[in-house]
Symmetry: C2
Subunit: 542 residues, 2 copies
């Protein structure tokens, strides 16, 4: 004798390490799910109690008593709805597991140990966890729920094992970071799984951001035929109900809410907003400042910052020098005005002269070179940091991925900042995002988008004096960095061999700069940083 | 019918990624071992052909054809001595293994796949490799050699498995990074192994350094009774012969060379020298410059740099300001003179004034605070970087571990630099190392060691205005960072609770600075960096 069962996807935004705050979120969501949706079960993301990824906090013995207290609090507070939460556990032998608990009527009635521990890309789970080996299937109101955690669903075994253990439906707890094509990958992967097991899957993802990772949410329920029948929104904490009914021998998901998803540039823009907002707010900054140069990178960064934090919390500083074009000053001032942010201009001439005099003896007999360009950038960085230190607002760096790749940026200069929103955004995508943003409301002056990009560090300079066209550069970077293609393979795609060699040499040699760069938001399938761990000292070449 | 066999421990210094250069080293060493020691077998370190750790270079498909060519070159060039080399291998399924090959008479006669893949501390081997499961035992002149790789010897199974497969002796290929007590750990661990298997072990370690890791060499042969009977030198490329003879059923190691080992501060000093030398030379810098403040950190850094690179390749810059004591200027000049390095003094007053004027409007109505101190540090950083950019010499940062821990340093200020030799050296150890260095020859003025430490960023400032005494601070850092002790446990050791809370709060909040710091040399059992991966955004507390 079975009844309908309502499962709520508890798409929440925990903060890493905030055990008691995360428990508050869990309890509040459980109560709300019961009250608003008459839900029977609420399912939360992977590692709900710690937030994901907690990294080496997992190595602290002091964490585990706090986890036990947290579980006790949930057991006490949530008694009229089943609560499926994720957390780390340490056993008597000191081995750690990535767990999910089925909490029913104030007790942990069942628990599951994650079996597939990802140890690639940004993931280091084998650093912390021992793999489980057993399925976990719990019956509730005549329906058997199989519990899996994140990576488990990307392989065949755990879901077939759960089905073989009797599961009618899979509950999958995730902390799956955003990248451009990740949503499609998830759908395609889960379609393979439901095709194999012929059972529906409820996929609950974390939302929010943690350092360089954005979690886009977008939780969904997939019917046994591979169709997404309930879709939670992206980039938003939300509880979404999934109604189940057992018909004959199968569990069927009834049609439910289908949130519209973002696409293309809009989706990436939302990810960037969420990354900035989370980093700034979770780290307690009262706002941000950035250098506004009249160029496209700082223009887009300003737009993202304002959209993420509100104009009152964003401040822009133009720092002109003798090479700054008049239109740069005009466009910077114009955008600041349009967006309603505090704006000031501090010319750097006097500081530059003071350095020139101080270094005169040291530089006697040498030619002007990149040193003088870097000096301008470092004076600007120092000014921004001074304003930041005085007011407590964090500096946003404005480098894009193309620059980060080839080192076309000044360490301690334009690279200063606590966070670097465009770090994983190639220049060609910077343009597309700027154009997209202007479709919402015209905020970036058109001239900023159409003029040739320039660092304005010497007379009449344009980026293409030292770099190939950005469409060429970005393709080479993608082939080499994301796809690990060899120089020969890239040349075979039709690129000039000299361009390819030059770009790859620059990428290889710039690792030392990237190591000292601010964290940014991963949006591609391979970002710089923990996603791509290259040695600085390396004589490797292909 | 058995004969004596001579095994040479090929303690060499490969460069990560320099496949052809490393093969040259291997071939040259093999020829030399044959000619000079009439050796039968030469054993090299783990991953000899790539150097260790190659990190994500291992993910490049283009690496593996190069490895095959390298093995072919060795097979062709080394035919009159058995060569045991380490390298990565990719099989037809795309799985990667950490391998050792027994190359005899121009052919790979046997190969071994590492079984224990470390994925803790600085190691990420499960990111790259699949574990092997089988022993590899090769008979040569009546002696059966069991091959193991590094971590294999830290666990019981692989060595007992090799013994069960008939091994008379174990050849262990290592890339074991230095830390203070690592040598003793290795001896103690291998004594447990020989006690279990009753067979001797030849332990061959890499020497040199790679980014933040120093490999101290110190290869040795341990007899079946646990005694070290042959000892190669530390911190030096060297070939050391081990003579074996089979008596009754056992292989016996005849007494051989016993290099004297370094101890205490001397050993750490050698590690620091090797770290600096390798980083600078392998990255092709013509030399280094550093800011010499008259304080102990820059004084010790200068000594290490000169000892590592020679006085001609080191340059010191004093950058005095209104708060710089006369004795600081005198002592800096004195040490530079004693050590014979190029020295100049550039006062920062004029640049400071220019910034003060430029920021006046922005700072109107605010109080003087840390901003003005940071500004001094950033002007100095900018000067050093300008001199570095012009001449190509790399800047050495001078922060010590105590400062790095609590964030007592200025991002883009005194933290600038390509490499940070003292990053893992606590302040109390900085003093001990300075005293040790002066026992070799008096180079650090005594006053630098005896005066109270000060950043000299405001009048009459001393470090202890804002920090507990360094012996207290360093113990708290060690308890919290290296031993993962909770605040309560640390207070229970007898420390003031307020001190403990303050230091831990500072450590937790300074992760963002450390993320942008230059790489340094790991000398303790837990360094900051890839050895301790904490989130920046974290609300965790104990």
């Amino acid at each position: 004798m079975t009844q309908n069962v309502t499962v709520v996807m508890g798409q929440i935004d925990p903060i890493v390490g905030d055990i008691s705050g995360n428990v508050d979120l869990i309890i509040e969501a459980a109560i709300r799910a019961k009250n608003e949706s008459q839900a029977d079960i609420i399912v939360f993301p992977e590692m709900t109690i710690t937030g994901y990824p907690p990294e080496d906090l997992l190595l602290r013995d002091g964490l585990y008593p706090q986890i036990n207290q947290a579980l006790n609090r949930i057991c006490e507070a949530v008694t009229d709805i089943v609560c499926v939460v994720g957390y780390p556990m340490m056993d008597e032998l000191g081995e750690r597991f990535n767990m999910a608990a089925w909490i029913e009527e104030g007790l942990i009635q069942a628990s599951y140990m994650k079996q597939n521990l990802p140890n690639y890309s940004v993931f280091d789970e084998q650093r912390y966890f021992t793999a489980g080996h057993h399925p976990c299937v719990v019956e509730f109101n005549g329906i058997k729920f199989g519990i899996l955690i994140c990576e488990d669903i990307w392989k065949i075994t755990p879901s077939t094992q759960a089905r073989d253990a009797g599961a009618d439906i899979i509950l999958n707890l995730n902390a799956s970071p955003f990248s451009e094509e990740k949503h499609q990958d998830r759908i395609a992967t889960l379609q393979r799984r439901v095709d194999e097991i012929k059972k529906p899957i409820i996929y609950v993802n974390q939302v929010g951001a943690q350092d360089d990772l954005v979690f886009d949410g977008g939780s969904f329920a997939m019917c046994a035929d591979g169709e997404v029948c309930v879709q939670a929104p992206e980039f938003k904490s939300e509880l979404t109900a999934v109604k189940l009914v057992k018909q004959a021998d199968s569990v069927v998901i009834l049609e439910g809410q289908k949130s519209k998803l973002f696409e293309g540039e809009a989706r990436i823009y939302e990810a960037l907003k969420m990354g900035v907002k989370s980093y700034v707010q979770k780290n307690g900054f009262p706002g941000v400042i950035l250098g506004l140069s009249g160029g496209i990178d700082s223009a887009l960064t300003l737009a993202i910052a304002v959209d993420a934090l509100g104009a009152d919390n964003v401040e822009a500083v133009m720092m002109p020098f003798r090479y700054t074009a008049e239109i740069s000053k005009e466009d910077a001032a114009q955008q600041a005005k349009t967006m309603g942010v505090k704006y000031q201009s501090i010319p750097i001439e006097s500081m530059y002269s003071a350095f020139e005099v101080a270094l005169a003896a040291s530089f006697e007999g040498t030619e002007t070179d990149l040193t003088e360009e870097n000096l301008q950038a470092r004076i600007r960085g120092t000014l921004l940091m001074a304003i930041s230190n005085k007011a407590g607002k964090m500096v946003l760096a404005t480098s894009n991925k193309s620059e980060v790749a080839v080192g076309y940026s000044t360490l301690y200069g334009d690279m200063v900042g606590g966070f670097s929103p465009l770090k994983d955004v190639p220049k060609t995508l910077v343009y597309r995002l700027a154009e997209y943003r202007n479709t919402l409301s015209e905020c970036i002056p058109n001239r900023v988008i159409t003029r040739p990009p320039s660092a304005e560090l010497r007379p009449d300079q344009v980026d293409q004096d030292s770099l190939p066209d950005y469409d060429v550069l970005d393709t080479i970077v993608k082939q080499y960095v994301r796809l690990d293609k060899s120089p020969a393979e890239i040349v075979a795609l039709g690129f000039d061999e000299e361009d390819v060699r030059k770009v790859i040499r620059l990428i290889d040699r710039s690792e030392y700069k990237r190591r000292q760069s601010a964290p940014g938001i991963k949006i591609t399938q391979r970002a710089f940083g923990r996603d791509r761990r290259y040695p600085i000292t390396s004589h490797y070449s292909e």
